[in-house]
């Protein structure tokens, strides 16, 4: 169901480095887990109960846009202190492109 290349692809998409040995172990693990979760195929669901129609009893909640956005109690200094690399008031990053 899932092979080594799939694992390598997924790890790449998730931006996570895994060793060659880990690739082997993870392939085995995920094969086993996906095998188990595939038993959902037996569950009595249909296209009627598809994602778009599920969570029918749950509603979306949004807040007004005019609220004061600085209420969380974090200060800029506090946040910058946690960043690995800063330059003045900015978080410093490597070039994106």
């Amino acid at each position: 169901m899932i092979n080594r290349e799939d694992i390598a692809n997924m790890a790449n998409l998730a931006r996570i480095e895994i060793s060659e040995a880990e690739k082997d172990k993870l392939t085995k693990d995920l094969e086993s887990i996906l095998g188990y979760v595939s038993e959902l195929d037996q569950a009595p669901i249909s296209s009627e109960t598809a994602v778009s129609k599920s969570f029918s009893s749950v509603i979306n909640v949004t807040r007004k846009d005019d609220e004061d956005i600085n209420e969380t109690g974090s200060s800029r200094e506090g946040l910058l202190a946690e960043a690995p690399s800063v330059s003045g008031d900015h978080v410093k990053v490597k070039p994106v492109f």
Binding site: A11, E17, L26, D29, V37, A43, T49, G73, A83
Partner: protein, 476 residues
């Protein structure tokens, strides 16, 4: 200096003692600090004991001396799971990727507890990013079960359960996504509550699976759980998924308790089975009706959970990229930074679940896995709603053992992840459906390992859980 009997202490008795003047908050905190000094190196339940614990206690004593009326949590020493933020303190989710991260704000639950005057003793060990059922996935070593040091305390809130079970704290907070409060509570012989989804704010809880996570209390008895829950619950404007809790009036004296025999029969350890059966007798003796019920779709819960939870986690953990906070490993370029930071900062179980989550959400597989799991989740939620519908002949509560086995040995289930996942079988349904569930100690195995019984109530039925929980614990 009072010689305080920590073993038999409860939140209520400690409060009353402090009000009476039997001992001060400082003396109580000191008693716990002394016990921690004795036991924590062995148990590894606390990742950090806060240096200012006594100073916190002193503040409470000062306020009490000034005549302030403080009750019932003032001066009560509490431990907090390492994924809940306390401003200025390290919160690492037991991960190397956050080993030196200091929280920049208080979680809402922490704010509420600060107002109530608790003393925060320290942060407790857990499975890394709450991924696990044994606390063996911590980047900082496993925690031992206080009842038997060769066994796990459960997980992911293993540290929080171990400190209460081992009298290293009077109560603690954990988080529960698939059973992470209830299972370790059961393994450590204490009470653990996961309330209705939304009743406790997740603001300041490091998110694992946002639609499943809830913070909850781990305590010595049900009354303490109720006190702690009622203090931390409440709608929070900082958490859009939070909602106001509700009380239940007119709880029937004779409750109808359903046992889903089609679900509970499988794979039970024989001692768990025997203990469960005698627990059912206790419930009958208390005057309640114990009825066999059928919940045919509950058996899909675990598969459903192990698709939804990794999917949501893979999304939530994307933020840990070494840019704005946490560990930063330098690579050749930005992409390499990400790969190396996550590769080295996340443990194997975390990476396993992120990759699994990425897979089930990827193009071509989304409908087959994630889409199906969403539908099954709705099915399970409806199944609970139907079974709790009294007008259709439903029940007041559903009861199962909390776990299929007692605490297993450290290292026993680490080779095969699926074996570990199967321990969650009775706890995950409540998270999927959003219903409240409590684990209450129900006895011990022949070798002295604690066992637990789990009661599940309808949405917002916490009061029913407290009622049956208190009745049960007094009879066992």
């Amino acid at each position: 200096m009072a010689n305080i009997d920590l073993k038999n202490l409860t939140i209520t008795s400690a409060s009353e003692s402090m009000i009476r003047g039997d001992y001060t908050a400082r003396e109580l905190t000191q008693a716990y600090l002394d016990k921690i000094k004795e036991d924590n190196e062995n148990l590894n339940a606390y990742l950090e004991v806060f240096e200012d614990a006594l100073a916190q206690a002193d503040k409470i004593d000062k306020r009490r001396k000034a005549g302030e009326n403080l009750f019932p949590l003032a001066g009560v020493p509490i431990a907090i799971k390492d994924n809940i933020l306390i401003k200025g303190k390290v919160a690492s989710s037991a991960s190397k990727i956050l080993a030196n991260y200091h929280a920049t704000y208080d979680a809402t639950v922490v704010e509420k507890l600060k107002e109530a005057g608790v003393v925060f003793l320290g942060r407790t060990n857990m499975d890394e990013f709450a991924m696990g059922g044994s606390t063996e996935n911590s980047a900082f070593g496993p925690t031992k079960n206080p009842h038997d040091n060769t066994k796990v305390p459960g997980g992911s809130s293993g540290g929080s359960a171990a400190v209460v079970g081992g009298d290293l704290a009077l109560a603690s907070l954990g988080s529960d996504t698939g059973g992470s409060i209830r299972q370790p509570a059961s393994f450590c012989g204490v009470v653990g509550l996961k309330s209705t989804y939304g009743t406790v704010s997740r603001f300041g809880l490091m998110a694992m699976a946002s639609s499943l996570d809830q913070i909850g209390p781990i305590t010595k008895n049900v009354t303490d759980a109720e006190i702690l829950y009622k203090t931390i619950a409440g709608q929070d404007k900082n958490d859009a998924t939070s909602t106001e809790p509700k009380s239940v009036d007119n709880i029937p004296t004779k409750l109808v308790i359903g046992v889903p025999t089609d679900f509970v029969g499988h794979g039970l350890d024989p001692e768990v089975k025997a203990n469960f059966e005698s627990s059912l007798e206790v419930l009958k003796k208390l005057g309640h009706e114990v009825r066999e019920i059928s919940l045919p779709n509950l058996k899909y819960s675990l598969a459903c959970y192990y698709i939804l939870m990794p999917a949501e986690s893979s999304s939530n953990l994307a933020r840990f990229d070494g840019v704005r906070f946490g560990l930063h490993i330098d690579g050749e370029n930005l992409l390499d930074d990400y790969m190396k930071t996550k590769g080295q900062g996340f443990g194997l179980e975390v990476r396993r679940r992120i990759i699994l989550g990425t897979y089930v959400l990827s193009a071509g597989y989304y409908d087959a896995f994630y889409g199906k799991a969403c539908s099954v989740r709705d099915l399970i939620r409806s199944e609970y709603q139907n079974i709790f519908d009294k007008e259709k002949g439903g029940v007041d509560l559903v009861v199962t053992p909390t776990t299929p086995t007692p605490a297993f040995s450290i290292g026993e289930k680490t080779a095969d992840p699926l074996q570990m996942y199967l321990e969650d079988i009775f706890t995950v349904p409540a998270n999927l459906a959003g219903v409240p569930a409590i684990s209450v100690p129900s006895g011990k195995t022949g070798s002295g390992l604690p066992l637990g019984i789990q009661f599940t109530a309808p949405h917002f039925g916490e009061d029913i859980l407290f009622s049956i929980g208190k009745q049960f614990e007094q009879s066992v």
